[in-house]
Amino acid sequence: MATESSEGEEEGKLTGGSPVLSVDEDLREMGKKAAWSVSSCKPGNGVSSLRDDNLETYWQSDGAQPHLMNVQFQKKVKLQLVALYIDFKLDESYTPSKVSIRAGDGFHNLKEIRSVELVKPTGWVYVSLSGNDPRDTFVSTFMLQIAVLSNHLNGRDTHVRQIKVYGPRPNLIPHQLFQFTSTEFNTYAFVR
């Protein structure tokens, strides 16, 4: 079950966006082990364009709002960050404006954990899933749903060019509470 934080309905405005994806070293992309699906799509602009590492291709929805992107995992994973590549300059009225992120065990019990409003984004937009409480640094869940509630200029359909989901790297040394940070330790920590 998604952690229910009191600040679930918190709003935040995000502007701009970086052209290059840069994420902390201690995060790793979790999307490879997930099943991705979308609520609707135009033929030729399906869900695969969301995950093809190609910023030229995009997913275009083809139905009623809200447009949904679903990420389902086989086991509960800890997630910390969602990165979306959206470009107002290229997509104009197709650019998402209000995005809500929900988490839960499945379609039946999703709950919103984050909600952001994007203002003319032009590149990679990072949405952190952490709450204020240090206990809420990660969201532990089976499923994540990114919902596009509205678009810029009141567009009906939406374009999303790429999406990535990040979680923490597990401790490489099993049975140890803390990870090593210094070079002296890391040199000796493993055999390769």
């Binding site: 990660f138 923490p168 803390f178």
Partner: protein, 783 residues
């Protein structure tokens, strides 16, 4: 075989031209191969086989294909053949094609359990490899040891023994007995050579190229010697030909003769072989005639039969019957050929090589039998002693004692003093001398002892001792690619990555084309986190050889350093594809799978690596780590223990073994293991930290704190130390100290998970404090 020999023998008489043609063709094929014109050689050899179908010619064809890296062709040609040399070549083709069962069946037929392994030391070596790769370690060791006893210079066999962990002390293997063995082989060889020379001499009277013959002799003999020296190891049956070195073993009498037919037949054999260093000095002792005579009784006949190219070898009275006639022509022809081969200087050489054949068809006749025999004995790469078989029944007179290397000079069993003297004078330059031979062999063995000891010690992971052994090598040998790589590997195992980097760097400078050990170098750079150097190395290796597994391992390490495990895995799998017997590539694949959380594939990769090399402790470590993660602690402990047995000096393995023991609740043993790990390598902080962990879980907080304080001195900027201390103080209810240490830990920027963990731990304390402190601290800790 014999039959064909006889038939050929007869046909010789019948159609001299045919024989001559066969000889010429075979000769030409050999010379083509020598010049690495494989396509040409194959074409001509096919004509030869079509014209004169015989097993010997088929062997020649197969060997041409093997030279051209077309083992499958050789396989089909030699399938079903029975001659020893054929079986050896067939087994070799099977081995190259990964058909290990068939290779084994060829070398060691199931229905003839007592049959001897063809080709002596080389055959045993190949058989050993087959057994090794089919997981029959004991048999493999047995055969490698056999190979070594037959050929003490077979370094590759010793290497394999080291890798299997069953090598004896280098001093014992490359010791006195080896020296004597080499000496004997040379002397034998010399005697046979003498005999052959004498024989040829008899008949070289008719030769029109007497001059050249004379000139040729010393060179011939030298050549012969150089070639033969290599084979000195062989036993009666086979010339020890290291499967990895292109040495041509001389095969008894016919070999000798072939030696003389320089351009193609046997000479090719010898000349194709890389002249071993020994030969310069190792010359048999002229004075040792007696001893040689003693053991070459079967040779006595040979003596008379074999014709020395040198006229000085009297033996006039040793005219042979038909074989004599055969050899008469071979003499000059061979000598001229040899002359051509041996030294480009002699003017006569040039003419003689070209002219001989067509000029003297009759001579050819005589030669042909021998030449063809010689031809048959040519396997450019891996020669065997099949000449024995070839000639056994055909030539009564040639008591070709198979593979005794011909030692020039030395004993003429027939004991012709005049000849001997002449020979001696001729060979004065080559100075035969038993004691000298012994001492030279001893010198070489001395070198090999140092190499062997170093390699053996590094294979059982006694790395300091190995480094010492290598340091005893003379400078000129130390500064070679191989040695420096081995030194680098030894430092790598000692976890002294800086020194390893230095050694490998030197190795690259000394031999920039060599890929040996470069996979380990890339791992060293990976540990040192030198991404620039690593990518440069990878690029260079790929551009040197795109088809070497080491290059792709380096490339994979490069990507892995940048945490791009997918691409790294792709590269490692490419390395595996290029050479599926490269254990380290499999291990690296396993590491990447684990990093990607694909444990099943990781386990499979590790197990594949272990199948190839059961002493590859890194794979055992990998398996242990996987099981530790999956919380299968018994399995983990088992694998770490196996790794520990193989490499008892690795403090990292010991500390993980301790961790596994602790997880199994055998904490006392765990602590013991940690102590051992700490004492094994003082510089390693890991066992100390693990020890502290164990103590904390055993609630021995005092001792744990002691350890951590010590550790703090060593690595003052390691956040996990402070974090653990914080945990201890918290459990001891010393909250201020706990807060202090948690703060320090957070300052040192641990990973996000740890930050979260620390903050979560700290939160309740802060809540207990007074309001002001609370807010200050929350602000400070960014909560």
């Amino acid at each position: 075989m014999q039959r064909s020999q006889k038939i050929e023998f007869l046909s010789l008489c019948e159609s001299e031209e045919e024989v001559a043609m066969e000889a010429i063709l075979a000769d030409y094929v050999r010379s083509s191969v020598r010049q690495f014109m494989h396509a040409n050689a194959i074409f001509h050899c096919e004509r030869l086989c079509a014209e004169f179908p015989s097993e010997v010619n088929q062997q020649l064809l197969a060997s041409c294909y093997l030279q051209n890296n077309q083992a499958y062709c050789a396989y089909h040609i030699l399938k079903g053949t029975q001659m020893a040399q054929s079986r050896y070549l067939f087994a070799l083709s099977c081995f190259k094609m990964d058909l290990l069962r068939e290779a084994e069946a060829a070398l060691c037929p199931a229905n003839e359990p007592s049959s001897e392994v063809p080709n002596g030391a080389a055959g045993h070596f190949l058989l050993g490899l087959v057994y090794r790769y089919t997981d029959r370690k004991i048999s493999a060791i047995h055969h490698f040891k056999q190979a070594l006893s037959l050929d003490p210079l077979l370094w590759s066999a010793y290497e394999e023994l080291c890798v299997l962990g069953a090598a004896e002390d280098a001093a014992a293997v490359f010791g006195e007995t080896a020296a004597i063995c080499i000496q004997n082989q040379y002397l034998h060889h010399a005697s046979v050579l003498q005999n052959s020379q004498a024989f040829e001499e008899d008949h070289s009277v008719t030769s029109s190229k007497d001059n050249s013959a004379d000139d040729v002799s010393p060179r011939q003999l030298k050549q012969l010697l150089s070639n033969n020296v290599r084979e000195a190891s062989g036993n009666c049956q086979g010339m020890a030909v290291s499967a990895r070195s292109a040495v041509q073993p001389p095969n008894g009498g016919s070999t000798h003769l072939s030696l003389y037919t320089t351009p193609s037949p046997i000479t090719t054999q010898y000349l194709c072989a890389a002249p071993p260093p020994l030969h310069r000095n190792a010359l048999p002792n002229v004075s040792n005639t007696n001893s040689i005579a003693a053991d070459s009784s079967p040779r006595s006949t040979v003596n008379s039969t074999i014709q020395a190219p040198r006229r000085k070898f009297v033996d006039e009275g040793k005219l042979r019957k038909i074989s004599g006639r055969l050899f008469s022509d071979s003499g000059p022809r061979r000598s001229t050929r040899l002359a051509a081969e041996a030294s480009a200087n002699t003017g006569s050489n040039a003419t003689s090589t070209a002219g001989n054949g067509p000029n003297n068809p009759s001579k050819y006749l005589g030669n042909s039998k021998f030449s063809s025999a010689a031809l048959r004995s040519v396997t450019l790469r891996k020669v065997s002693n099949w000449t024995n078989e070839n000639f056994d029944d055909g030539m009564k007179n040639e008591v070709i004692d198979g593979c005794r290397p011909i030692i020039v000079s030395g004993a003429l069993p027939s004991g012709d003093p005049k000849a001997l003297d002449q020979e001696t004078t001729m060979l004065s330059g080559v100075a035969p001398n038993t004691s000298k031979l012994l001492s030279c062999a001893g010198e070489i063995l001395g070198l090999l002892r140092l190499f062997g000891e170093g390699y053996r010690l590094s294979c059982i992971y006694k790395c300091q001792d190995a480094l010492e052994a290598y340091s005893k090598l003379p400078h000129k040998h130390y500064n070679t690619g191989w040695v420096l790589s081995q030194v680098g590997k030894a430092y790598f195992e000692l976890v002294d990555y800086l020194e390893a980097d230095r050694a490998f760097g030197l190795a690259r400078r000394v031999s920039p084309y060599s890929l040996e050990g470069m996979d380990i170098y890339s791992t060293v750079l990976y540990h040192l986190k030198e991404d620039m150097k690593l990518s440069y190395l990878a690029q260079e290796l790929i551009s040197t050889d795109r088809l070497a597994p080491q290059s792709w391992c380096a490339m994979g390490n490069c990507y892995s350093l940048q945490k791009d495990h997918e691409t790294a895995l792709k590269n490692f799998r490419r390395a595996v594809q290029l050479d599926s017997k490269f254990a380290y590539a499999h291990t690296l694949c396993g590491h990447e799978y684990v990093a990607l959380d694909e444990f099943d594939n990781g386990i499979k990769s590790y197990q594949t690596a272990l199948r190839i090399d059961s002493r590859h402790y890194k794979s055992l470590y990998g398996l242990g780590m996987v099981y530790l993660r999956q919380e299968k602690f018994e399995f983990a402990e088992h694998h770490f223990r196996l790794a520990f047995h193989i490499n008892p000096c690795s403090s990292i393995i010991m500390s993980y073994l301790g961790t596994a023991l602790h997880a199994l609740k055998r904490s006392n043993e765990a602590l013991e293991m940690m102590e051992r790990a700490i004492s094994a390598d003082r510089k390693n902080p890991l066992p100390m930290y693990q020890k502290a962990n164990i103590l904390v879980s055993l609630e021995c907080f005092e001792k744990a704190l002691e350890v951590l304080e010590e550790l703090k001195e060593y690595a003052p900027r390691e956040s996990s130390i402070y974090a653990l201390m914080g945990i201890i103080y918290k459990r001891c209810n010393m909250h201020d100290k706990a807060m202090l240490h948690f703060g320090l830990a957070l300052d040192l920027k641990p990973s996000a998970t740890d930050v979260a963990t620390i903050k979560v731990t700290v939160l309740p304390f802060i809540m207990e404090l007074g309001t002001d402190m609370k807010y200050v601290l929350m602000h400070v800790m960014e909560i």
